[in-house]
Amino acid sequence: MIEVKNLRKVYRNIVALDGISFRVERGEIFAFLGPNGAGKTTTMNILMGFIFPTSGEAKIFGRDVLRDGKNIRKKIGFLPEELGFYDTLTAYENMDFYARLFGIPKAEREERILNLLEMVGLLERKDSKVREYSHGMKQRLGIAQSLINEPELLIYDEPTSGLDPRASYEIRNLIKELVKEGITLFLSSHLLHEVQQICNTVAIINKGKLIRKDKIKNLIDEIKGKGIQVKITCLNINEDIIESVKKVNGLEDLKVFKNILVARVKDEKTTAEINSAIVKAGGKITKMEEKTPNLEEIFLKLTEEK
């Protein structure tokens, strides 16, 4: 659905994008992950035709975004990072205007707008001017307007940006409901937990370069394959306890910090054996934490190396 080849964007002497290439297939829930300033919004802006690439190409539905942008946008729903409505108009009037631009007939338009506003929980406030809306309400309205044309592809740029935890939670749930219906979603975020909850494929970008693209499951399995990290707080650590832990089969690495043992183990079974070894050696365990691999670890590792 989205195909980007050697996309490059240079602002004077600043390389915002440095020849990135990726594809988003139909049905994927694709995350574009990176820190602030990595090039995520630049990529999205090029896809939407707001800015123009220095070199390279970008296609959506097999069509060039620069030459055929208008036709492409008939089948896209977009949620920008910086969301702005016509504040003096009501939510309904804003939605109606956008629906008219898609050429949706009147009766169908009314039904769709009401259904969408109900879906995002704004039906009761449909006749309020948008300037009276909170940031979270505007974001929900943003999601509603992105669906007015029943798009094949959704492009969301930092959908929970600037929202409080409750509002972020509501937006994430809305998005999860949408993706259940099989829509293709291309989402950019710097929030790892959000991406891990919603998406199945991720491309990690940093300083304008695409570092890695893969299924999230593959990335997590890769880290899992490198073992589990266990942190054990033990009141009376001594040499005997440390030696008994070192003898446990499946221990890959062990670090000792005062009364804390940090072990990298092969699997959960090894964790249980370490626990037994400490107790047998007379150790008093007060706390044991297992750190499951997640996207944050992968992200930090990959962006650190680059």
């Binding site: 919004t41 630049t42 802006n45 939407m48 035709g49 707001f50 800015i51 123009f52 208008k70 036709n71 946008r73 008939k74 896209i76 977009f78 920008p80 910086e82 969301l83 702005g84 409505f85 016509y86 504040d87 003096t88 108009l89 205007f97 956008y98 008219r100 631009l101 898609f102 050429g103 943003g142 307007q145």
Partner: protein, 276 residues
């Protein structure tokens, strides 16, 4: 270029309804309406109450409120593009299947419609006031009066297009407004006097040289003033040619050229402008 008149019309309608609720339209439009109707009323009251007075009453009333034919279009259009950018609504608008050309055209038409909805009815009301005092003029006088309204609307279109140009190239609404007012109103009107001074200092002839005529014709307000002869020529009985360096037809052509040139430049610049 993939241009849809439907999309442009939807944008025009949205601009029209959005502007109807704005304070600036109510204030400036209200002042114009009050000024024109009051002028017409007073002039009609103190006229000789003859149908022959109709063209001069209309001409004088338009002259009194002529400043609004500059201020009204500028204040309604200086932020057409820059405001979309500042409030970030441009991203949602351009994410829809509309082209940048349709946006420019639609916004232009929307504001022009507002101006037509103000000027035409109010001018008609002024005509009625004049008729009430002075009696019915001949059809030709009425036709000339409406022809002049058409010229005023054309002139307003020029200022809309000119302001949209600044709205496209500037980054803030304040800069756009100041640039439109200073250059559009003061700057363009100063060109002609400057050329006259140059002509005088260089010991040129007393009539306007060719470059003065061009300088005169660049300003839409000058052209609207020159075209006012369409109302008053016949009445005054004295050729008014000498008051203006260009003829009525030349002023009309100048207005059309100004409108097309600024519109094309605005469209071209907006088409090329990166929005980030």
């Amino acid at each position: 270029m993939n241009f849809s008149i439907y999309s442009a019309w939807e944008i025009a309608k949205k601009e029209f309804y959005e502007y109807l609720k704005t304070k600036r339209l109510i204030i400036i439009g209200g002042l114009y309406i009050a000024g024109f109707l009051l002028s017409t009323g007073i002039l009609s009251h103190y006229s000789s109450h003859s149908p022959q007075d109709f063209p001069s009453i209309m001409g004088s009333a338009h002259s009194i409120v002529s400043i609004f034919y500059i201020i009204l279009p500028i204040t309604l259009s200086y932020d057409l593009i820059v405001r979309e950018r500042s409030r970030k609504s441009i991203y949602l608008l351009l994410s829809k299947p509309v082209s940048r050309e349709e946006i420019i055209f639609g916004k232009f038409v929307g504001v022009l419609l507002i101006i037509c909805c103000i000027i035409i009815p109010i001018a008609t009301a002024g005509h009625i006031i004049s008729i009430a005092y002075c009696g019915f003029p001949d059809i030709e006088s009425v036709a000339r009066a409406y022809a002049y309204i058409g010229i005023v609307i054309l002139g307003a279109g020029c200022y809309i297009s000119f302001s949209m140009l600044f709205s496209t190239i500037t980054r803030t609404t304040a800069t756009s407004l100041i640039s439109s007012l200073i250059i559009g109103w003061f700057g363009l009107n100063m060109l002609y006097p400057i050329t006259l001074i140059i002509n005088f200092l260089s010991g040129g002839s007393s009539s306007s040289p060719w470059y003065s005529k061009i300088a005169y014709a660049i300003s839409p307000s000058n052209n609207m003033g020159a075209a006012q002869r369409i109302l008053t020529d016949r009445l005054m009985g004295v050729p008014t040619q000498s008051l203006y360096p260009i003829s009525t037809s030349q002023s009309l052509i100048s207005l059309v050229i100004f409108l097309l040139a600024t519109f094309i430049i605005t469209t071209f610049l907006f088409h090329r402008r990166e929005l980030n």
